[in-house]
Symmetry: C2
Subunit: 153 residues, 2 copies
DNA sequence: TGCGCTATTGCAACCTATTGCGATAGCGTG
DNA sequence: CACGCTATCGCAATAGGTTGCAATAGCGCA
């Protein structure tokens, strides 16, 4: 048993079984990461996750976290996309698929729902047969506030 | 063919003056990078550029290349965006502004012109006031060939 | 419960990219 | 043409991220 995690959320409680069903294993390291992810909200960078895991288990190794994240992405439990600096950012599922807007000037970011990008995705699919993955989409630019304020770069 | 690079292209021949006009300098290291860029076609990663510079001048230092690329981007001579792995890729101007499509399965990439994404950009501008930078756009997904062939990941 | 297969871990080395700093060298000026 | 200001260079150190490999430890099975 694993008492330390009174996981109630069915998404998280099912992870163990989903791993096993694939012949993968449920390890203390993975348990730690799941714990961190369950508490995470919105976007987190990989290094933030490493840090939070270390807060729980100081022995946490970066490589383990990165490899586990790959596994979880395979399972569809997390999604990653590349932030404005090219760093990986993870987004915890469930939740609707969405892309991201990053303001180059102030650094804030927003989510864009499927509806807003659907026309473009449809056009790409129709004209080129290219099926784009919206959850990996990250648009960089300038937000309304920064434009109004005339702020640059 | 390309002889030893008697740069004729006005874009490249003008770089020196554009640098000077800004109080910046024309150095052998920058000349080397310009030479490499002039010969480059399409997209190149930063490390490819470092390597090619080393082929011309073995003493080339990575930091110099990276810093020079920043300067050239300021001048609007190159653009960078983040490839599927999050690595920086540079694109040489001139040429129309465009985004990129990366096939997750086969790794190939294509360019998308302004027309194809304009509707989305317009919608974002109208609804959120967000001015997205198309040249920084990179969409990841699966191309027509891979979809037709039923290839996955 | 004990055994064995093999997924996973942790370490260390490596790669890409960035930054601080003293030394060097463009280039505008006199 | 020499001088001096300062942009740029090269080095070394650092950070984020990845990978190969030997050792460890889940977990299915008898």
């Amino acid at each position: 048993m694993d008492p330390p995690i009174p996981v109630v959320d069915p998404v998280w409680s099912g992870v163990r079984d989903r791993l096993r069903a694939r012949g993968l294993r449920w390890t203390p390291q993975r348990r730690t990461l799941i714990e961190v992810l369950a508490a995470a909200d919105g976007h987190v960078t990989a290094s933030e996750l490493v840090e939070r895991c270390r807060a729980i288990d100081p022995a946490t190794t970066p490589s383990t976290v990165y490899r586990t994240l790959d596994v979880l992405e395979d399972l569809g439990i997390v999604r990653h996309h590349h932030g404005p600096e090219g760093r990986e950012e993870f987004h915890v599922l469930p939740g609707s698929e969405h892309g991201h807007l990053h303001c180059r000037t102030c650094g804030r970011s927003w989510e864009v729902g499927p509806a807003e990008v659907a026309p473009m995705l449809d056009a790409l699919r129709a004209r080129r047969g290219f099926e784009a993955d919206i959850s990996h989409l990250a648009l960089v630019g300038r937000c309304a506030d920064c434009r109004a304020a005339g702020r640059r770069q």
